[in-house]
Symmetry: C2
């Protein structure tokens, strides 16, 4: 069944009536880089004025929730830290609540400060990450490496300070099959100001290739992310809608969790990706050009 194209006030009114909880991807939906999507702020206000729950579900793993909130503040979008679910936070919750990592064990991190902050907030010990000792482009020798026997998992997220030392150390731990291999998310790229840049899925690719192992991915479209939200918020999946711009992350995430799905065309997906001969097999329930279209409900 093709997606329902929304266009009339009645369409949007019906969508509003059917859903109590609205989950939003951010980049490509509410903003593009540092540019707000026209009408996005107004639409969030309308939802809040109708007492809808608003949650922000992002695969961004470089920022902690408090740090990510600053992005909302800067763009003038109302958001509260407990409404924000990033894949860094979800990864930390996974390690503490699902893996139940013993207190004497550690995570080896390939990632940035936000990921470390979320691990720390969940009381998880870690090494690697932004450790200045590893911030080097010098060649790496195993003779200078001592394996920390407390490391029980490798967690990799987007790391724009990636280097050979970090990859080599992570790979040493991954050669032990007992080491859990986690990635915050599998996005191959992410949209930056001026174009696409390599995403977390690209940064973890050397570890997958060298180890021959497939990691467990925490972020969208994985259900792990929804489990993390469920642990913190009550919502009825049947009355929840996921709004996103990516078919293979946002829309698939909604479908995996039994949510309604609304695709917007302000991000990476174009109309020819969902209509015509080259359409994706991932079909959203609803489509609209922009989240700003819901302003009609004001």
């Amino acid at each position: 069944m093709p997606p329902a194209r929304l266009s009339t006030k009645l369409d949007y009114q019906s969508l509003l009536d059917k859903h109590d909880t609205w989950m939003f991807d951010c980049d490509g939906v509410l903003w593009n880089g540092d540019r707000l999507v026209d009408g996005a702020v107004k639409v969030l206000e309308i939802l809040r004025s109708h007492n809808k729950s608003v949650l922000f579900v992002t695969n961004n793993a470089t920022k902690s929730r408090p740090s990510y909130k600053k992005k909302f503040d800067k763009l003038g979008v109302e958001a509260h830290v407990d409404e924000i679910f990033g894949s860094a936070y979800a990864a930390a919750v996974y390690v503490s609540s699902v893996m139940k990592l013993p207190k004497d064990k550690k995570v080896y991190v390939v990632g940035m400060e936000g990921l470390e902050q979320e691990l720390a907030s969940e009381g998880i010990s870690y090494i690697g990450g932004t450790d200045p000792a590893d911030a080097t482009l010098a060649s790496f020798s195993l003779s200078s490496f001592t394996r920390d026997p407390a490391v029980a998992a490798v967690l990799c997220g987007l790391d724009t300070a990636i280097n050979y030392t970090k990859l080599s150390k992570a790979f040493q731990y991954l050669q032990d099959p007992a080491t859990t291999f986690l990635v915050t998310n599998d996005d191959s790229t992410y949209p930056a100001e001026g174009g696409l840049l390599p995403g977390a899925g690209a940064i973890s690719a050397p570890l997958k290739t060298a180890s021959g192992r497939e990691p467990l991915s925490i972020g969208k479209p994985a259900k792990t992310m929804l489990d993390c939200i469920k642990a913190k918020h009550n919502f009825d999946p049947k009355r929840t809608i996921m709004v996103g711009d990516r078919l293979n992350t946002d829309i698939l995430f909604g479908q995996n969790g039994g949510l309604s799905t609304l695709l917007v065309l302000t991000g990476i997906t174009h109309i020819e990706d969902i209509e015509g001969p080259n359409a994706s097999t991932i079909v959203p329930e609803y489509v609209t050009n922009s989240i700003g279209d819901l302003r009609i409900l004001a």
Copy 2:
């Protein structure tokens, strides 16, 4: 048919008689890291004393031929620059002789000095590589990037100074389908002193993931490497043997080129990889424990 296990003097004498040209992988065959394989030097002397051609065929792409020769010198192994074929050299020959890159075009390099030296020796213009401007762990912004319209190919090899800036720039070029995507070799790991480290296949993995493209691989097992050798040396494939320690690179390379193949067990392949229920589908023609076994011919 299972491989022939060599053990008697007659076995080795027959092998010697059948082959005029002996191609050797180096690491895992002649040495392991900085440790010579017992008897390797003597066996090369025996081959030379019988007027055999000796060639060294390595996927190492971090060193130019003259620089790689220093490794032989250091370990006391006789070798001449024109007997050494590395994947860096083969990649340069591919770009100049097969691609026939016009003189006004350039290669964007992800790789090390040896790769640059081989490109320069073939008269190929390049950017990237060890450019100090890109040797940074600072975050990368597309606003500071100006695409060089002369770049017609991205060439990626093992780069132990890999970083996000290099990956991001290479990825910008690869988003243009007209840009040729080459990798020196696809080895996921390589043996270093003390264990395995991520190889060229791991370093190029982020570019494959981000671009969704499959590169052309130059090194073993690709036939491109043999074409490069053919351009420089006369040999009869029917009277040529490839000696190596890796089934999916060395042995497959020999088979792809119609050569005889001899597997040695001093490197990455163990006897259970070629015998029993978990044996590989890549079956060498001959197997011996070590190249040193041929000392029996002295």
